[in-house]
Subunit: 228 residues, 4 copies
Amino acid sequence: MYIIVKNNFQIRTTCFEGFKSMKAALVSTKLHHLYRNLIWRSFSTKFAMANSKFEYVRNFETDDRCLPNTWIVVRVDGRGFHKFSEKHEFAKPNDKRSLDLMGKAAGRVMTEFKEICLAYGQSDEFSFVFKRDMDLHKRRASKLMTSVASIFTSAFVFHWPQFFDIPLKYPPSFDGRVVLYPSTQNLRDYLSWRQADCHINNLYNTAFWTLVLKGNLTNAEVISLKVL
Amino acid sequence: MYIIVKNNFQIRTTCFEGFKSMKAALVSTKLHHLYRNLIWRSFSTKFAMANSKFEYVRNFETDDRCLPNTWIVVRVDGRGFHKFSEKHEFAKPNDKRSLDLMGKAAGRVMTEFKEICLAYGQSDEFSFVFKRDMDLHKRRASKLMTSVASIFTSAFVFHWPQFFDIPLKYPPSFDGRVVLYPSTQNLRDYLSWRQADCHINNLYNTAFWTLVLKGNLTNAEVISLKVL
Amino acid sequence: MYIIVKNNFQIRTTCFEGFKSMKAALVSTKLHHLYRNLIWRSFSTKFAMANSKFEYVRNFETDDRCLPNTWIVVRVDGRGFHKFSEKHEFAKPNDKRSLDLMGKAAGRVMTEFKEICLAYGQSDEFSFVFKRDMDLHKRRASKLMTSVASIFTSAFVFHWPQFFDIPLKYPPSFDGRVVLYPSTQNLRDYLSWRQADCHINNLYNTAFWTLVLKGNLTNAEVISLKVL
Amino acid sequence: MYIIVKNNFQIRTTCFEGFKSMKAALVSTKLHHLYRNLIWRSFSTKFAMANSKFEYVRNFETDDRCLPNTWIVVRVDGRGFHKFSEKHEFAKPNDKRSLDLMGKAAGRVMTEFKEICLAYGQSDEFSFVFKRDMDLHKRRASKLMTSVASIFTSAFVFHWPQFFDIPLKYPPSFDGRVVLYPSTQNLRDYLSWRQADCHINNLYNTAFWTLVLKGNLTNAEVISLKVL
């Protein structure tokens, strides 16, 4: 069968010719029984064989299932958000539009994953807590963290115009990680840790930018105060 | 110090009052020396202590560095793209706009990560090959796969209007995974495996949709042919 | 410096010649100051350099620390103990000497690791439970399981003559594994699982060997009964 | 069925009573058909159910298969061998008996695992290299390292009397670890690293003990020389 399909992206347009005649053969009921085996054989011998020959590479994938009966936390973090917030002229110390957009994106993640019972966000990060006994994606760490990071990012870009008047200058991104917490106390302490971090940073930023914006000091002058 | 900062997203507007007077104190140079230690102490005793108390939870993070001297492949895969392609009325069997957008998104990923030497895509998936000796993000698997998945997704949504006339109906997402290949032959076989998969699927889809679109068969009729 | 040290096992006897004269030089106080730097330099340039050149291979070792705040169970299992028990003519269904020796070996493990709070054994296996909050060997899984397996094995061979009249015919061995249990209920269920397994096997073996030893049936006849 | 089997180690002697009557029932062919189902049911309902209820704990075991197509190195290391060599009055700097025994133990490991192609030892450590393409125990790291450590230890204790006149004072032990090397060059560098380490240590020890044994210096005096 003169079927030539170059199916990587570069070559596409010329590849369907062969199928026109194949189709002609197939739909002409009279010859149908003749082509059936022929075509099938050409498929299976050539491609299935090729496939099985290379398929061993699947064994290089590792099983990264999270330990059962632990709280799975996925935390996403803005990549290069210092620069991103400058380029998009975020208000200081906190940009309400940005925080609301973060909340919106987190909502999307929670809508998609019913298994998430709690989310906590601050600054350019968001933590998602999966129910302890959930079995989504067999608890595979890579699947969970990449899905959460991707949905969060997607929603952030998708909903941007609802919160910002200016258009996005370039696509932002978030990395992610998975952390397991065996006990509920550990999980609470994790959340307390993020909240303490939030508190400290917010306090610092609020004081810093108040001195700059209302105290008429320069950034450098504030830093030189060494109070903060 | 009467500083109340509720820094999670719900409470923000009332929290800066305290800082106004703090600022007043700070910028009035005469009282400056008095407030300095006081404020610092309130910061450090309350928050730093709180922080160190909870910070132990960081030890629950695992070190997932990829084995050195191996090819690191990150593959991203569309999540629920069967539905997504239907909702956005992708042309069958291949939608040129979609493929071009995928290529665009992959280009973004490669621009951001100079350490990627090769990318191969088909359908709703894309594989990225990192140079064997690269040390980006200490080769941490979670950092690499989530960053790639996030950038890819972000670019996909960001550049959508350049390729599609209709707007995105909802934010799409991609999961990701990391696979290591010790030898160059293994890497070649991985790429051959993806290409064989591409070939088989494209052949099937092309034949299937040709029978439907040009042969005037229904989906069910094609399936009942059992030729494919 | 004419120092030739072949330090792998094959070549040892001829290698100390050089040191006699080096020693002479070193202990003769008058030349002491002359040789000091000379020797040191020859050491450091030649060997330290060689060492640093290869030391990168250490980076291939992975960090396999067990998740904090989980119960660490190390279970050792006899390798090929069916054959071992036959060769050493263990009494059926249970050999008291063997069970007592197992208990003795387990005691040794517990003496060496104060961090183990519980051990449970049956047949040719033994489970050791480490305290939840212990930090021995930084909780590195490989260190813990290999140490336990090695001490257990060592004690088993070492104490053999105290329990058996016949000598060991060949060195027995035990493999090991680490399993983590996040909650105390999980740990209890683990122990219940081992005990249920013990119960079932013992019941089967006791019935089986009673039919053989006291019922005068052959092994094959018992199996053909299909009652068990 | 009045079968009471306490099969953990504490209670054993009294537990076979029940089976005598069961046996009587079983071997008396006339009642055979009556007891068959009865017994089986008591087994299956009580114990199999109990077993399945707890068996979920198996899911907490992790899959730790080594990446395919890499050299697997298992290195065992003496635990507390400084003290061990003192207690057993090893000759300094090298004890031929000990080195020969180490070699013997390593030979045992290689005999048991045909998949090991190379072993290299020095001092109280030994490295074993598994063939790159081997699939023993599904390449599970824990199985490989514990088995090697256990066999090595077992043989070390078992063969001790062949090499030493004095008896073992207490059971020695060895920990183990697994390291993967993707390329043959990496493996060579690993072995070079161990040999360089061997060289440096042996040089140091040889010089140190020559100064002590033939130079009539005390240990402290040699250390104070600061030449080594």
